[in-house]
Subunit: 303 residues, 2 copies
């Protein structure tokens, strides 16, 4: 990665951290409201102090293509990150993936308790729709409405939540294993929020239909590359140490891009997707360079 | 209750049922999306087939004061009902109130499983923000934005979710019992969504500031009356049978309006609130009659 790319990524992570710190604060509540201190602390525990902030970065850089002021895109990115963080909290619950660790710290339900984790997830999901409607996001209320609706759709039955239940069904969690269409589950479970980051810039920039479609295609390619890289990491991070594929997916006997395409096939597919992401950005010329680098970053990441 | 009031209440319940049946349907998803059938079924299980639909009724009747077309208010009511239903699903979870029955049927996590219940609640919360932003809600995007943001605030840390955690803290769920300000917890936990139903009409009707304040004051009085009636029912539904107060609240040794004011004091407070609700509606004259009847209905309800 070039120094410039890393600098931009880190700058957005820093700005997002600061902004979320302000947004997730009891100070924003009206005086008459009793401060739900425990809830606010739990929301902050799971949202602050970590993460590459890849989704906010995609929002900021896709908005930059259209010259949208950075502060507007950062707000959209913060709303998107609230959704991402809520999804991790609920996924980690005992009734879901039952994970004890996240980013090297106890998961929220371990650090607090299950009830607090459920409510903190709910409240993060909810505050995303407070943030995304704010005047500072865009002067035109119609733009904010489109951003809001698209965020709901990326997160709901046709997006993340729908993908999550299909993924659990594919693991055999509800009885017999459902047949898994890996590409479709990926598009919904992890792809929808990544794609949202990319189209958010087009919506903020009031892009033409063809520009919107370009960023949509870019976002879909990046999202699939992200998931394949994830599946490869799951296999290879253990493979290097143990000499055989025995990651978490294999333990669950899960259908992934790697079980479908093989390791080499999956790697070829990532290269195809990078070419597709590149080609999608052609209309933007040099303005698309950071997004090009972002796709490579996603594909090459080691964690 | 007058026959007219009951007819109007039933008509809104029927229309809301029909509308939710349409909105919570996989048919609304794009073709490319894999249908998360289990999730959609779970959402329908908990949202269809029951309830007085009081919150949609308040939205419809507060909108009627301003002559807002009924279909617009019904959409807002449906979004609000999705939030209400999600809150019941998550409240019923083993990690929260651990309830097995709701409206005489097994709760969602009993009929399905905890993971499905968590995701169905998440998806209902999310789809509310899809519904409330739709073009059919109001021609003016700014009105839809205000409705959206107010819905997020009524549901989040300063509203329902915040009230829920304060309520659990007051039960001693997180260690020592927190001191409980019953009125403030009520305003947040149950009051915020009831109040939203009332101000939604003012927002839809692009009411003047004084009209908005009138419906806000009405909604607050109705919300408190609703909660006191609830607390009284918890005591008296057992009291009639057993001759002593031994309801669910008493079992939890919970601070309620009844433990704070006594039974007679609580009943006097309800009468004061009905007078306040009536007075708040004065600016609307006879147009406020159904809302007046709604406040009496809420205060007198037997379940």
């Amino acid at each position: 990665m070039t120094t410039d790319f890393t600098k931009r990524l880190d700058a957005t992570a820093d700005d997002t951290e600061k902004l979320l710190g302000e947004l997730l604060s009891g100070d924003a509540l009206p005086d008459e409201i009793a401060r739900p201190t425990r809830l606010i602390e739990a929301m902050r525990y799971s949202s602050l102090g970590g993460g590459k902030r890849l989704r906010p970065f995609l929002a900021v850089e896709s908005a930059a293509v259209f010259g949208v002021p950075r502060d507007q895109a950062l707000l959209v990115g913060a709303a998107l990150e609230c959704i991402h963080c809520y999804s991790l909290i609920h996924d980690d619950l005992p009734a879901m993936d039952d994970s004890d660790l996240r980013r090297g710290r106890p998961t929220l339900h371990k650090a607090y308790d299950d009830a607090t984790a459920i409510l903190a997830g709910d409240a993060l999901l909810t505050i995303a729709f407070d943030i995304i409607t704010r005047d500072a996001v865009h002067a035109d209320p119609m733009v904010r409405l489109l951003l809001t609706r698209a965020l709901a759709r990326a997160s709901g039955i046709g997006g993340m939540a729908g993908g999550q239940i299909l993924d659990l069904a594919g693991e055999g969690r509800f009885g017999d294993r459902d047949p898994v269409d890996v590409a479709r589950v990926q598009q919904m479970k992890t792809g929808a929020l990544l794609r949202y980051g990319c189209i958010a810039g087009a919506l903020l920039g009031q892009a033409s239909q063809s520009e919107y479609k370009a960023l949509d295609a870019y976002g879909r390619a990046l999202g699939e590359a992200f998931q394949i890289a994830d599946d490869l990491l799951d296999v290879e991070s253990d493979a290097e140490a143990l000499g055989k594929p025995t990651g978490a997916d294999a333990a669950l006997n899960k259908t992934t891009f790697v079980t479908q395409l093989g390791i080499d096939g999956a790697k070829r597919r990532v290269q195809d997707l990078l070419a597709k992401a590149d080609a999608s950005l052609a209309p933007f010329g040099a303005k698309g360079d950071t997004l090009r680098a972002a796709a490579r970053f996603v594909a090459d990441r080691k964690n």
